[in-house]
Amino acid sequence: MRTAESIRSIRAIFKRELAGYFGSPVAYVFIVIFLLLLGFFTFYINHFFEMGQADLRSFFEWIPWVFMFLVPAVAMRLWSEERRLGTLELMLTLPITIFEAILGKFLAAWAFLGICLLLTFPMVLTVLYLGSPDMGAIFTGYVGSFLMAGAFLSIGSMTSSLTRSQVISFIIAVVICLFFILAGYPPITEIFSGWAPKWLMDLVAQMGFLPHYASIKRGVLDVKDLLYFFSVIFFMLAVNGAVLENRKTA
């Protein structure tokens, strides 16, 4: 019976959270900024039309960088706000586990980001009009973007549980996201080179989002890459739970 109850609690929280996004102007502002930024980068910086290629490669290339800032902005209120307003006390004295609360909130925010991604559909229509793109690669590109959004979101959710201040949560999350994007590239490898053993450097390089994202958006849905993103999400949400479990005050 516990599973049925779990699902009911998660669903109730999911519904409440998602309604919360669309009940406030924040959601609409976010969607508009997200679409404008992506459009700007794809069309002006990457000269989408001048490239003469009917694919979304230049579009997906920008997604990690846009998400790096925008996903922590969505995630920062998840727990900080509850702590600041004291509603955390209300939520955690309801007969639900911390795991259910985290999952309900996380899934709602992830669904919101999914909706944002879906709203980029005019891009797909554009390339369909211009030529005959590889629809498989576009599909996996969206899957990869969605998975990366989830990974960034889990980072933001975790940092949000650390503090009552949304600003602090945002900044820490952006820094961690940047680390995951750059892992394996010179700025990060240089920090480790010279003192860290080779296995550690290899490990850090393997942790980068971009290689996994790159192989997915090329059109290859490898179990390894899926597993990678889900383990990042799982790990971050587990830390999130441990932080909430061990908090000293409201």
Binding site: E5, R8, S9, A12, I13, K15, R16, A19, G20, G23, S24, L85, G86, T87, E89, L90, L92, T93, L94, P95, I96, T97, E245, K248, T249, A250
Partner: protein
Amino acid sequence: MIEVRELTKVFDVKTAVNSVSFTVEKGEILGFLGPNGAGKSTTMRMITGFLPPSSGTAVIGGCDIVGDSLNARRKIGYLPENAPVYREMRVTDFLNFCAEVRGVDSGSQQARVDETIEKCFLSDVRFQTVATLSKGFKQRVCFAQSILHDPEYLIFDEPTDGLDPNQKHEVRLMIREMSAEKAIILSTHILDEVDAVCSRAIIIANGKIVADDTPQGLKATSPTHGSLMVRITAEEPNALLMLLKAEPGVKAAEILEQSDRHARIRIFPENPDAPPIADRILAMLSARSATVHSLLVEEGRLDEVFRAITTS
């Protein structure tokens, strides 16, 4: 029954709650008193499962809040301090959300929510968002949330904080009405409230229980308990005071206020709980042709007791 067993909470180096034990039976309303920072809220947060205790536990209707937290929390209705409510939600949506998470049967959910809205006088604001409500309404929305699932055990952290006198009265009435079949703990620093609602009071200071008694019992420890207060007009109040002091059964007497021939005198009897000496005093005063305007036997004052206990 709520059974609190040696509940202790240590924050870093400070012991906020130190081995607090008590039980509350059904039908009882326990007032939890103490100065700010005494550990009232921390204790309540541990009983409701929000904060894990450093040691000790609370058992709610047979369910341990540490070992069997979910089942224990199911039996509790909780009004946290400052009545937090999701600001962007409408009152009905908020209560429906709580009902859903609480597992209120979906067939009767709407009826339950409506009934609670009615009971807490929220009908006029049911479709407003919480952010637009006044403090008093917010408090009642959170109160509604705590009684929504008709729990056997209710825990209120300062339920009348920020309400106007009429609203305070309403909330107290509601609490009293519910008390017959529920065990209720409420914290407050309004001493009148203890007198008005509680059947028992615990005073906590520096994380320890320093008194546990009925409000009457607590008042009886007041130094003014059982003393007589008389307002008289007499030719020579001071001479009268001497005579009063000499009266058998009188331990001491003092003039509290005097202007010309009017005086207010407090008389302490030898034994406050012995047969009253008021009629003898009255007879004696009228024999001396003093006019008695009023005579009052003091029950004792909770605030005096509170101050004496918590500052010593």
